[in-house]
Symmetry: C2
Subunit: 408 residues, 2 copies
Amino acid sequence: MRPLRSLIPLEEAQRLAMENLPTIEDTETVSIADAGGRLLAEDIKATLNVPPYSRSAVDGYAVRAEDTYGAGRYSPVKLRIIESVHAGEVPQKTVKEGGAIQIATGAMLPDGANAVVMVENTESKGDEVLVFKPVYPGSDVSGMGEDIKKGDTVLKTGEFLTPAKVGAISSLGITGVKVFRRPQVAVIPTGDEVTAPGEKLERGKIYDINTYTLSSIAREMGAEVSTYPITPDRKKEIREAIESALPTDIILLSGGSSVGERDVIVDVLEEMGEVLFHGIQLKPGKPTVCGKITGEYGGKKRETLVFGMPGYPTSCLTNAYILIAPLLGRLTGNSRPPRVEKKIMSHRIVSTLGRHQIFTVRVEGDTAYPAFKESGAITSMASADGYIQIPANVDLVEKGETVDVTYF
Amino acid sequence: MRPLRSLIPLEEAQRLAMENLPTIEDTETVSIADAGGRLLAEDIKATLNVPPYSRSAVDGYAVRAEDTYGAGRYSPVKLRIIESVHAGEVPQKTVKEGGAIQIATGAMLPDGANAVVMVENTESKGDEVLVFKPVYPGSDVSGMGEDIKKGDTVLKTGEFLTPAKVGAISSLGITGVKVFRRPQVAVIPTGDEVTAPGEKLERGKIYDINTYTLSSIAREMGAEVSTYPITPDRKKEIREAIESALPTDIILLSGGSSVGERDVIVDVLEEMGEVLFHGIQLKPGKPTVCGKITGEYGGKKRETLVFGMPGYPTSCLTNAYILIAPLLGRLTGNSRPPRVEKKIMSHRIVSTLGRHQIFTVRVEGDTAYPAFKESGAITSMASADGYIQIPANVDLVEKGETVDVTYF
């Protein structure tokens, strides 16, 4: 058993992982109906104006604005209704002096008209309409190309497709868009004591937890997740498992709780590529290994980040939130920061100087309570709402102190 | 054309929709790998202890604590190593006075031992180990059932399955869990002017935007979305389209921008069920219709909420965020509140008294800028990060005022 090598600060570990994160260049075309939440891989140029013609913004009457000047509640202007246009119809007539065309919201503005009078400011009688309020030219008209001009670049490569951006694309009548493929994550459970759910639990063994928490987080972040069979903590088997998962973007080895197991992962990474760090000044989550493997597949270079995650379910899970989720957010483009709220700490918490602590809490109203039960307890995580961070240079959070709770 | 009936305040519309939201009782069984993000439909009882045996929390030596009393840096206690146990192995020997068993993190505590000395506080020489620090009984031991006790109810029906809760279930070796089915949302585009993307755009027509923004939001919220063909704004066709979408939980009619079109939807809802509200004191998003239809399918009563959404893409989208998303959050159990941050308003904004205004903004640093371009402009929504709400009794937000930005 070798001790951990030099521990590095959390910020340094986060920076190293981010700097060595592979970039995804492969693209695929998805239908506009499935484009939400994807990362755009092309510029979207407008091949038409939106709206494609001037149209009415209200229900009312298309008129020549100059015909309404001087209209008032007690001195209405009387116009002749020459046609009625619904949305989707093309007006057949032209509005001339003294004329008006009844028009529905969204319908095409007839030739000759330059404004629309809202129905609320009119009163119709047979084929005549009284206008009680003057309008200026352009009143309640959405001009052709007012939203998007033909030739404009509407969206650029690298934009994350929110519902509104999907809407902007569909306004152009586009059916398919080029997006970057989703990040690929391989989860390899390791450990001689780990048993797959559904199998008989032998004495001395425990059921696999980390595979399922890690997969849930990675899927939630928009990754494509492959899970691999449970792999014994031996060099040959770990190496073979990693090779079987390549090519991929991120490999998470989810077992390795003992020093011996971590050493196996470090040895394999040194053989296959390079070790980026081995041990973080972090509690929980210290025994985390990270390395990079570079390979060539079909003539294309592919880089893979490999993490040996802590074996304890709680450490594995908090590490996934603070180390892995931001990497996946970068790859999917979904880099919304997490929700952070100020709460009052219910108890005094003692921390170790020199170790950044992730302290899980339950939130009730304005108060944060420790969710902690026992170091490996998955149930304490299951009841936690989020965590507070205690920096390495702070050794005490007082009862009643205001803390920033980051929600899971 | 009939005017809107009595407008109701936004809070009242939200309350009415929430109170009339159907409950989902149908369940399905999903594998633990797919359970993340689902709503649990059964109580999960522990059929075993977690951990299933007492085990070591560190790499070190399993000992009788009493053998280590009095140990110190310069007066170590010498113990005889009788065995070495890795994680997953069952110890073969019993620790007796003066004995120790080398033990890995997670390995089963041997009979006779009641504590573990961390490897850092020992030094081994051949089959002997020097212990430099005393330990108390239970030191660095995770007791059997310390996390979950056999027979405990670990999770209850109605809990939203976060990654940690998925982990708690998998710790029990469970492979499949009963969850409520996902909410079903049917999107029916209406409007004679609406054309499906990919089809030729005739004069007077526009491409369908709302179907894609609404589907994106509903999918993001975890709903199963079905989209229907574009339906003309006529009573018979709207009624047939609604009938073809039943049974379902929520129907979104995504066109209807003119008063005439809304009237058609109101008439159909009055025939098929009841109208809950028709018009909200809200800008944008006033012309929103909501109704409820009750039917029987295979002997089972099913309720459906039907919304006639505003036709303008921006109004349709903000309404989806403030009216529809919370309903889907209730149904999926994913009721995380949105991220809200305080920002400084860059410009003075004038609002109409008596109308709750949703004002979309772009955020840069600490400042919120109006994202607004033109009332129907999807591009202004595409560049928006979120919105501020201006209550009905406020008519002015001053430049430099602090506002709450709710992120999309």
